[in-house]
Every structure is written in structure tokens, then in C-alpha cells.
Subunit: 344 residues, 4 copies
């Protein structure tokens, strides 16, 4: 049982945004048809279509791992392979759900900053057409990446173009797509459907929701029959209105954007403030809401007595500090002070 | 998009109980470690251990289908078979999640009232030891059954004894275990661990929660490594405190029992009142919160204009009416009146 | 370790036909490219195309279970269901390989003679379009059936038409297709592609080969990428020429037909001869190479001391006697005599 | 359609050894019970027990990929991971069968010579106990490796010790175990069970058989129920006697050893002879029956007009030449001459 006054461990350690809870309370009136055949769900889907395009096919899910694994299973056959960064959530943090659900091989590309490039993907095409080899079918990228960096639209378009030319699909794990959009000051869809993404796992949970994930198909042929994949993947909530309400709240008046901006701003502030501290070095560009830093082992130990956060790479004494929509300047100041003390 | 003033379609059409929502609001304060490593989850697990025995191993899940499929996958190998009623939720209503997740064959037993008996299970043992045949490994029963009937403890014990003698496990789908316990006026565990159940899918969602399911192992050897199965089955919620709060609320002061009793009482009241109506006949014992009835096709059509409920068996003009924790006498009276009018 | 002078247990208890072994010896010369990229395989495929149509897509496999499970997995998604007879090999005798490989639910139809009819399939269509239910996608029939009966072309066409009208595929388990064709005195393809079968598991092993199975797609869109499914299903033989040689031998000069005819003739002879024996009754039409009979339990016991065969239904004292391509009149006479003695 | 007078592409391009075919002919007499319940299979199993220890559990299989994937699936749960070299057959050449059959993640270790070491495996243990990560369960090594190198008994023991200490199993892909044993001049079991291997995929196909693979469990607890895994993995041959006969032939009078020695000798001879040719360099130690060499692109092209072999690494102009049990000195001389000419 780990406790902490303030967690910089993950944006999912944050509470639920009050407006989200309020929306959940509001739909808690009377009977409603289950499994998504209700007016709240229709409205929430419409809000996402307003953002992601009217032809987008939207399916609400329960977990990010569920969104990734179920959507990947839907667009592959087991003899396909999925290409992703070696830092990808679906490679590292889903306990093999992608392999279990898809039956596919995952090919990973070593990535220093969480991003991958077409030049690195090309060699996997050598296995094309040989019956002994898993056939590359999906490229999966994470936006923002697991290292807090972002893909620019041109970068996404280049991968999408490559995927398209080579009979592959582009999947995006958008657990922090909002943060990327806030960082780049662009509409979310500019980084998704408009840049050629075929299927998006869009996560709202880390951005102020309780448990609200979606699979969004831009390539609508791919969406066919996904309702069955969702159910079989155990991701269909019976009292769906409470998921839908979360999406409604976050996508009314751009709350999603405010939340993401705040989280990003606080990470930037944190990075700026710790930069000056001796023996602390920042290891990744701080583009969204994560700060990766190296500091002395002893300092990490002292700091972890007061704050909860993860050691990213034991060998290098590298830690990850994440901010969230509710982090404020005082939190940052107190934390920076604690870092300063720990280092001394 | 189906709408209705009042739904008798399913207990999952009901809203969330106010005390449950209140508990969710109360935990919405500050940061908390994710994925269940928090004090709320510890307390909620303890509450279930108070009910199900201190050695019970409790894992919170997101959907009932997830609880069934993940627990069955955990206690089987793909060459095993699972024996259940032909009315079982896991056979009928989970879009093949059990097959996909376990790789096992499901053997079904025709059941008029939703219950199965050892005499019906015995013939499946003939395949034991033949390498060409899936090997029977799990008997799964539903309590209360999909037809609203209940297993008495002696019945469960008999199946558990048979399972034990034949190197099989007994799984219980307890999506409505609370209703069964209320009907029999017994502690829930009398119908689960104390009667020899090895693994229980315990559902609180239909009894006033929002999305709160659990897998409970009474055979603690079976629980080993289940945390990995849960994660790989995409059933691990990051912001777990909000699931835990639901369990806490329902298991404080026996709210779970009040809710289940109310639902059962209302079904009994409904059954009593429609019994007198000409051309309406009740087809199953009304032991919990479901009423199965046959009425003229024309009457069904008229009634469905005003109320939402499912036709159970088209061929027989049989319908299912379900009550929930929030159904009240006035709801029943109005509905009975509508039935009466529809029949005329 | 069971031994017997003469087995009536299965046509796979027979040795390999001398011409088949001879052909295997003939290809045993020098080096050959592996995995099917050799001239023997090309020629063998051509021989099957001569029988099954020039557009047929032919893939050699190693086991009948492999041919069934891999082909079904290739034409389904895990949320689909497969409809077959409750006597089907893929339901009864493949240790759950279809479920493991496809992830699909198998729906079985009670069948007295091993055959199924569209009227029995129709009710499964009620689940169409409901996200909670596995979606019917394949009808699988066995020709000749596991009970030795045969489908006439009109019967197959009717099922194929029904499948086609309802967006389903028709799969045929043709482990004994040769016997059916011999029985009906028709070309094999009259009972397969020409009658609307989409995918055929064609077995030569029971008809005089050693281990020679094939998946044949008549619907060539379905064949796309099957080479990868075959390899991933562990059915791709490295020294393929030895499988190909078997097919070559059997399909040169209609050896396949001679073999099948002989087996059928011997079963008919057996049936005729035992018919007259008191307390022996034949339970299925003897259309191909199996005789199902009921005889006194004591007689079965006595007979099994001298001959190896299976008890089909213990409860009814029903046995299955199978003949093969090499069974001769003397074998039958001796066996009938033994039956006569056992019964007395 | 590739043809060649003489193939140096793979040892599976060779014909079947005459003694093996002879043994297959010899068992082709009369009826035999199918699926391994026959005297030939019993005898063949005994021969392998003579080599691998009387407690070894032996199961005959049809393909090497089947032996690997089915045995790995049997000793893992889907949330486990399997650690192997990045050159491993199960990573590179089985079209994802391991992932499909096990549901596990494969972790690969970059290997220059095909071998892996405990120091490289250790880092994967960091994921132990975290529910988000696949749990390491099996180390799989290939003997001889895909690069023709061999593990010495001490190296195997070290990995086995490490596996044992860390609650993992050691699997060996022994498709060319005979070649390794011949190279080291040791009994095969010295490199398998006696060195701590838990499960072995033992392949005879590349050593003169037609299609004869086996899974051998040294840890007999692991063997429990494997007959069902074999059947469900579609690896159970009905006419088993013909597989058994192959094993019998190869393990009578040490034919397996003669074959392996001859193949190794010929590779060594080839390596010695090409070493002197300008612009040809050998890239791997020639310990068994493979020679890896770099030569000019133009020379490769010329040589491939006359001989069939694979380019191993296009970027480096590296080729693989394999010898087999039937390669002779004249074959080598002619080939070396051709290399010499091609290079000029």
C-alpha cells in the first residue's frame, strides 16, 4: 500500500474532474436502455464526431489496453505483425494483451525518444510474401509518446503514407492525444484522421475522466462489425450512459483542451525550475505532461519518501514525473523545493 | 434509439443508487495510486472478505462478461471443456468471449428453468481420457439463474461434490447472487464458498452499482497469478478507487441486501397482480427479480409502445419483465394496469 | 496397447496403398526445394484441379483436424459462430482445435443420421445483428457423414443457397468425400464446388494415403493469404514432395475411386450378411463404408476379443464397423462368422 | 518454381534416407490401431528413452514448428513471456505460430552467433511481479543454433541453473540436436536432459527422416495432459506407425549419428576449401552443417544460377550453405569449383 501526499507518478493518479462527475450525476435519473442504445451515448458520439469528423466511427471502451488490443485484433489476422516502438505501451505495459487478443507478433523498433520513423520500419518489409514470416500489417504509434514527446502532423502523414503504400494500417495509441494537441496548438483530428491515421485509441481517462476510452475508426470499412469485437473483448459497459456522460463533459466548451494545457504547462514549469538544480538533468524534450530526469540515486530515495513517482531506468537513475490537469503552481513549487533538498 | 418512461427490460437499465454515487464522490479527493494499490480498494476488498470469508481472494473487474471469461480462462487450459446450462449468460450473451479467451469448448445442457443437475453432467465424463475429446474441467452455474430461479445450498453442494470428485471446478456466475441470497434469506457466502464454489463472478452492477464486478476465488491456489490474467483480459481499471467505492457503498449496512430484496419483492408483486389477468400466464417460478410470462402477441405489441422489455421467446410469445432495486409499488401498479389494457 | 488381427475400427487403421508408397519412393531422388515449391507439388495440385476445377485453390495439409481448424479460422473472425451437426468430427473428435484456432462458438444441431438441414439452421439467424451474440458465419457439413450417410447434390445446393443468401460460407469436411462420390457414382466436385461449397477439407488419408490432406477453396477470395494460416497452423510440411506424391498416386487412373468403391462395397456386403443374424440390427443406412449396428452387450464383449472396433453408443449397445480400401470378401466372411458366434 | 541440380539451401531439401523409407515399408502390413496406440510407436518411444533417459516423456509430432509451438503453449499461460535469441526459428520462421498458440510475448536477445547468455536474460526479470508486464517463464535455446554454432554442456547447464533459480523453464529447439551431439562427440542427452533442459523439440526430419518430430519432456510434471495439447495443436497423426518407423530406423545402430556426422564433415570440408578463395570470407564458426559466408554480390548471382541456396543477409552479401546427411565429397568439390568460378 503506497500512499503519498502528492503523486507525480501518473496522470491516472489524479481524481476525476468535477465537471465530469457532475455530468455523471446528471444522467443518473430514471431508466435508460443499456449497452449504448441511449440518448446520452448518441450525444457523446456526436461530440466526438464534431472533433474527429462526421464519418468517424466511434465506439466507447473501458480501458486503454482494451481499446488498443481490441482495435488491433479487429484489423489484423493472427499471421500479421504489428510494428511499434520498443517503448510503446502495447509492448511494455499491457501484460501481453495485444499478443493474446491478436495472436500477432509485435515487432519493436528501438527508440530513444518514443518515436519511430519509416526508415526503421522498412526492413520489416523484407518478410513480405514469405510464408514462414509474420506479415507486417499495422504500424502503431503513440501520441503523445510514452516519453512525452509528440509527432508533428508531417511526421504522422509520412508514416501514414508509407503504411498506405505498403498495404498496412496506421494505428495511434492516443491515450494522451489531448496533450499532444494542446502542445502543438492544433485540433486533435489534425493529428489523427486528417493525418492519415486509420484507427485511434482515444483516451480521456488520463485527462480528467474516470474511465472513458474510445476506439475511433477513420477508415470506416475497418469499423464493420467492431461492436462484436468490443463485446467479445469484454469492453461493452452495460450502464453505458455513465461513460458517455464523461465524454460529454470533457468535450463541452473545450474542457479537454483546458485540462491538457494545464497538465502540459505544469510539466514545462517543473522542467524549467529543476533545470537549474545541480546534479539534475532533463533527458527528454518536455513537450507534453511528462518530465524525465536523471538525479543521484540517494536523492531519488529521499524524494520518494515524500512523493510517489516511478523510476524509469534504474541503471541510469532516470525518473519520470508526470503532471495532470489538476496540478498547480504550488504543487510544482513544493516539489521543486523537495527536489532541491533531496539533491543536497 | 429506444426510449421508455419505465423499463422492465433489465436491472441494468436502472440508474446508480444514490449512496453509491455519493461514495464515488467521497473518494474524489487528491491523488491516489492507480490500479488498486490504494486504501479504498483495500477497504472494499475487506468488506467482501467479511462477507465471503477471510481467505477469499478478491479481484475487481469491469464487466460481468470480463469476470466470467477471465476467471474461466485462468482455471482452464484450451483443451478443457466447460459445462453449463443452455440458458447461461456465458453461452448466450457474451458474443463468444468465453471461447475466445479460454479456447475451450462449451458443453451445454438443455434446461427448462435455468438450472442444471449432476445427472445431466455425468454423460460428459465419457470423454475423459480420450485424446480426441475436450476434457471436462469446469461446471458453471448461474445464481440466480437467467430465468430468475435459485439454486438451494444443497443443490450447489451436490454439484460441488460432484465436481470435486471428478477433478473439476465449480464456477458460479453471480451477477444476481444478491437476489438469490435475498430470496433464500441467507448470507451470500452460504450460496458460494460455503457450498463449495471454487470461483465466483460476483456482480454488483445490476444491484445498484455503476460498473462493479469482482472475481472471488475460494480455492486460493486458483487465484495465483490472476492479477496478470486480469490485466491481460483488459479488466484492470487505472482509477480503481471509483470501482472500490461502489463496493464499499453497497456493502455498508447491508445496502446490497435491501436493494436485492426490494427488486425481488417487486417482481413477486408484479407476478401476483398479473396472475389474475386473463390470457396472461407466468412460465417460471418467481423467486428473484424476473417475471417470465406468456401473453397474446397483440398485447405484447401494445405494451411495448409504452414500456421497454424483451421478448424472451418469439415462438411462444413469452416475455421477460425485470424489476430492480428502485422499482416501486406505483411502477408495478401502472405497469399491471397497462398489461390489463393491452390484453383487452 | 491394443492389437488385433483385423480392425474394423476405422479406415485409418489400414496400411498405405502400395501404389502410394511406390510414388513416395519414386520422388525420393536427389534434392528438392522444400515447403511445396517443387515440381511434384505442382503436379499434384494440378491433378486436384483437374478434379475440382481449374480455379480451385489447393493447399496440402498434414491432418484432417488441421485442415478443418485452419480453414475455418481463415474464413471467420472470433466473434462468428460455426454451425454443424452434433455428430460432426469438428465438434466431437478434434479436442477443441476449432475453438482454439478460431475463437468461435460452435452451434450444434442434433442429428440422427449425421446430416443437417436448412430448417434447423434458420433459428440461429435470430442472433444476427445483436452485439451480445456470436454471429453465424459458417455452416459445416461432413461428406460422407460421421454416420456413413451421404448428402445428395440437391441437399448440398440447398444449404449452399441458404448460406449464400444469409452471408454465410459453406464448409465441407470431406475426410470421406471419395466414399460419398463412389456411393453416388458422381465426380467428387459434383458434391463440392459444383454444389456451392466454398471451402473443402479433402482427406486422402482414410482412402489409402499415409498422411495427405488438403484444403481446397472454390471461393478464391477466401484463399487469399491462406499460406500464412497454414504455416501458422503448423501444417506446412518441409519435405512436401512426400505428401504431393501421395496425392499423385491416388489421383492417377482413378485409384481414389477404386479404393473408395471397394470400401463401400465391403460395408454393404457386411451389412447384408449381418442383417440376417438374430439380435443384430443395423441402425443407419449403409451408404458408404460404415456399418452401425446394435447387438447384445455380451456379444460385443466376445467379438472385441478378436476384433478391434469402437462402441459408438454404450447406452444402446451400438457399435461402428468400418471397412477400408483393402478390406476383402474373406475378411467380411470371417468377421460375419465371428459376429454370428458372438451373438449365440 | 525453383529447381537445382544440387541444393545447399537446407538440410530439408535432402531426400529421405533409404533405411528410413525401408522401415516405413516394413510397417506397411495389415491393420494397426491409429493415433499411436500401436507396437511400432511403443518401440520407437523406447528407442528415444534409451537415448534420453527412461523417465523422458516422448510425444511424436508432425512439424518442428508444431513441436515448438505446442510444447511452449503447454508449459506457459498467455500472460507469460518466452525469451529467445533474435535468430531463433520460433521468432523468425514460424509465421507467428508461437504467439498464436501461446498468446505469450516473445522477448528476443540480439545474438551474433545464435547463442544467448544468462547476463542477457537477467534484465527481463525486472518485470517480475508487476501486473502490467508479461512474466518471463521460458528460456528457449536452439541446438545447434540457426547459425550452425553449438552450446557446450556447461553453457546449457548455466542457463538451466538460471532458469531453475528464477522459476523458469528451459526449452530447447533441437531441430539439429543430432548435429550438435556429433560435433561435440557426446550423447544427445548430455546436451538435453542431463544438462537441465525441461522440454526438447527433437527433430529427425532434417537428419534423414521424412516428417518425424518429437516433444520430449524431462520434467515429467510438465508432460501431464500433453496428449490433449498435441491433438488440439493438430499434430496427432492418425497412421502414427509411419512416423514411428522413421524414428526406429534412425535410432537403430546409430544411423542418426552417422547422418549427422556426415553432414557436419561435409560442411567443414566446404569451409576449408572455400577459405582459400579470394573475396570469400566465412562469418560463423563452422561447428555443425552450415557455412555462412560473404562473397561478392555478382558471385552470388552467378552461383545461384547453378545452385539453390539462401541469401542470409542481403545488406552484407552473406549467404548460408547447408550440407545434409547425403552430401558427399564430390558435391563439395563441384560446388567449391563453382564458387571459385563465380568469384572470378
Amino acid at each position: 500500500m503506497k500512499t503519498a501526499f502528492k503523486s507525480f507518478a501518473s496522470d491516472n493518479n489524479a481524481p476525476v474532474h468535477k465537471a465530469v462527475l457532475q455530468a455523471m450525476l446528471q444522467v443518473n435519473e430514471g431508466d435508460t436502455v443499456g449497452y449504448g442504445d441511449d440518448v446520452h451515448t448518441l450525444e457523446a458520439e456526436q461530440k466526438l464526431k464534431d472533433l474527429f469528423g462526421k464519418d468517424a466511427k466511434v465506439f466507447f471502451m473501458l480501458t486503454g489496453t482494451g481499446a488498443n488490443a481490441a482495435s488491433l485484433a479487429h484489423i489484423t489476422r493472427p499471421f500479421h505483425s504489428i510494428i511499434c516502438s520498443d517503448k510503446a505501451h502495447l509492448e511494455k505495459d499491457e501484460c501481453g494483451a495485444p499478443e493474446k487478443m491478436t495472436g500477432c507478433k509485435l515487432h519493436t523498433i528501438p527508440s530513444a525518444d518514443g518515436k519511430i520513423y519509416t526508415e526503421q520500419i522498412k526492413p520489416f518489409l523484407h518478410s513480405r510474401g514469405f510464408q514462414h514470416h509474420s506479415q507486417p500489417r499495422v504500424i502503431s504509434i503513440t501520441q503523445a509518446t510514452e516519453l512525452g514527446t509528440v509527432y508533428h502532423p508531417e511526421e504522422i502523414k509520412q508514416i501514414a503514407h508509407f503504411a498506405n503504400e505498403n498495404d498496412m494500417y496506421l494505428h495511434m495509441d492516443g491515450a494522451r492525444l489531448a496533450n499532444a494537441a494542446a502542445a502543438l496548438n492544433m485540433p486533435m483530428n489534425e493529428l489523427a484522421g486528417s493525418s492519415g491515421v486509420d484507427v485511434l485509441s482515444y483516451g480521456a481517462t488520463k485527462n480528467g475522466a474516470m474511465s472513458a476510452e474510445a476506439v475511433i475508426f477513420f477508415n470506416s470499412d475497418l469499423a464493420k462489425d467492431f461492436e462484436y469485437s468490443r463485446k467479445q473483448s469484454m469492453q461493452l459497459m452495460s450502464k453505458m450512459r455513465y461513460v458517455s456522460a464523461q465524454f460529454q463533459a470533457l468535450h463541452t466548451g473545450e474542457l479537454w483542451l483546458e485540462n491538457a494545457r494545464r497538465a502540459n504547462d505544469m510539466a514545462r514549469l517543473l522542467a524549467e525550475k529543476v533545470k537549474g538544480i545541480p546534479s539534475v538533468s532533463i533527458t527528454q524534450k518536455v513537450e507534453t505532461n511528462a518530465v524525465f530526469a536523471i538525479l543521484p540515486a540517494k536523492a531519488i530515495e529521499i524524494l520518494q519518501r515524500r512523493y510517489f513517482f516511478y523510476i524509469w531506468d534504474n541503471a541510469r537513475n532516470e525518473v519520470r514525473w508526470m503532471t495532470a490537469y489538476h496540478t498547480n503552481e504550488k504543487d510544482i513549487e513544493a516539489f521543486v523545493e523537495a527536489v532541491r533538498e533531496a539533491v543536497q
